[in-house]
């Protein structure tokens, strides 16, 4: 019975670590502009980090052929010819990590032309560290009586 109770406690703690909303630090949304240089077959910079609620403007500059930029999750895209840079403006209202990729066929390695948009802090990293710590703790505790 005691064992069952402690297991229940452990599971509750695990759920709490996984799902309890973190105290969100009050960050005033700001406007951010990124100039992304697109060339075969990469973006630079290829990783963007913004806070939730920020208004993001991406200026896509193509350096060789026609490239695009499509953001998963947000389902928005922009296309730029060399010499005609294009801008994409949106509000990053969905937290998480999103891939963006070239959506205009730009050559043989086109499918590998990807980048990443991080919106908000990566809380799942900390949560999973917490869960792992909890699991280790649980295993060590449950093993003690037998030894």
């Amino acid at each position: 019975m005691r064992f069952h109770f402690s297991l229940l406690l452990l599971v509750m703690a695990g759920l709490a670590v996984a799902f309890v909303p973190l105290p969100v630090p009050a960050i005033t949304p700001q406007e951010r502009t990124f100039e992304i240089d697109a060339h075969q077959f990469a973006y630079s910079p290829s990783e963007l980090k913004v806070n939730t609620g920020d208004t993001i403007t991406i200026q896509l500059v193509s350096a060789d052929v026609v490239h695009g930029l499509y953001v998963y999750g947000y389902d928005i895209s922009v296309e730029a010819d060399p010499g005609q840079s294009a801008t994409l403006t949106f509000v990053a209202d969905k937290p998480g990590s999103f891939r963006f990729r070239c959506n205009i066929t730009c050559g043989a390695m086109h499918p590998f032309m990807i980048g990443k948009l991080n919106v908000g802090s990566n809380s799942w990293l900390y949560r999973s560290i917490g869960l792992a710590a909890l699991a280790v703790f649980g295993v060590t505790v449950s093993k003690k009586p037998k030894a």
């Binding site: 193509s62 060789d64 052929v65 026609v66 010819d81 005609q84 066929t105």
Partner: protein, 325 residues
């Protein structure tokens, strides 16, 4: 009865086969034209035969990246050619001659080399006499240095020049505007009581009054599509290919035996007043029409119409003058 049924069955099958097969047969007979980056061969085939009055059916596909298709000096919407897709185009030619078709989406440093010709045979219903471009009739040397010895301190303002210009001795004809550089017009105002700055403003207004907002808008669009990749979106000669052109300079020189002066160069900076204020519209027309002869500047004469080139020159001067919005 059985016999009649058999015949009707055969007729139906043959009819269906014909209805489906005949268009497919004719579609398959149209050769597929492959588009590749110029480095990998460009258009294949790059010479197409056609006849006046007969619609020309073409099929295009791309083997690498996004390309586009348009025929020079023809009033047509350019068509995108995408890898893995077949694009059908039907063209009609009213006049015989050799037409140039070209890629309309930038596909690398040598994008502009991606050109081909359509040879249209037949008889002309209304032969137009060929006209000589203005730079030829003026006997301009396109490669001679043409720097203005004096330049204004800032961007001349057309709006300030407007009030001054009304009673100035400037020839208002289009020929005068086209054959004179801003510096020459500035010099012609020497005997007026105006200050240097006022004279430049008057020149700016004179340049503005010789163009229209439609012409500028058209020039801006042509510039963005065809020029900005090298000359830069703001005209500063720093487009995305500018560095590549300079780098290609040495190599391209070796490939052209004997022509030491003719190698890929850095694109011209249109914001440089010395160079631009010393150039007349006719000179710029010549440079655009003929191209840079091995410098990396393409020849646009077979692609742009005369009006399009004038629109472009008008737009290029707007990097020097502050026009009214």
């Amino acid at each position: 009865m059985k016999r009649a049924e058999l015949i009707s069955r055969i007729l139906i099958v043959v009819g269906i086969l014909l209805a489906v097969g005949a268009p497919l047969f004719f579609w398959a007979r149209t050769p597929l034209i492959h588009a590749r980056m110029a480095e990998d061969g460009g258009w294949n085939p790059d010479v197409i035969q056609a006849e006046v009055g007969k619609p020309l059916h073409l099929k295009f596909t791309s083997d690498d990246v996004v390309h586009g298709f348009a025929v020079g000096q023809m009033d047509m919407q350019s068509v995108d050619i995408l890898p893995g897709k077949v694009t059908d185009i039907t063209l009609n030619f009213d006049e015989p001659g050799i037409y140039t078709f070209f890629c309309t989406r930038w596909c690398g440093l040598n994008h502009w080399r991606m050109r081909g010709t359509i040879e249209v045979s037949g008889s002309s219903s209304d032969p137009e006499p060929a006209t000589v471009p203005l730079y030829v009739s003026l006997k301009l040397d396109l490669d001679a240095p043409h720097d203005a010895p004096v330049v204004p301190n800032g961007k001349p303002l057309a709006i300030s020049g407007q009030s001054l210009e009304t009673n100035l001795p400037i020839d208002q004809s289009a020929e005068y505007y086209r054959s004179h550089s801003p510096y020459e017009v500035f010099e012609s105002l020497q005997n007026t009581p105006l200050t240097d700055g006022q004279r430049w403003n008057a020149v700016a207004y004179f340049w503005q009054s010789n163009t229209t907002s439609e012409s500028l808008a058209n020039g801006r669009q042509l510039y963005a599509q065809n020029c900005a990749a090298c000359h830069g979106e703001n005209g500063a000669g720093n487009g995305v290919f500018a560095d590549d052109l300079v780098q290609a300079g040495e190599a391209s020189m070796q490939s052209m035996s004997g022509a030491m002066n003719m190698m890929m160069q850095a694109p011209v900076d249109f914001t440089d007043p010395r160079r631009m204020l010393g150039a007349s519209p006719a000179l710029l027309q010549g440079k655009i029409l003929r191209g840079g002869m091995g410098t990396g500047m393409p020849m646009w004469g077979s692609i742009f119409t005369e009006q399009q080139i004038w629109d472009l020159t008008a737009y290029i001067y707007s990097f020097q003058f502050e026009y009214e919005k």
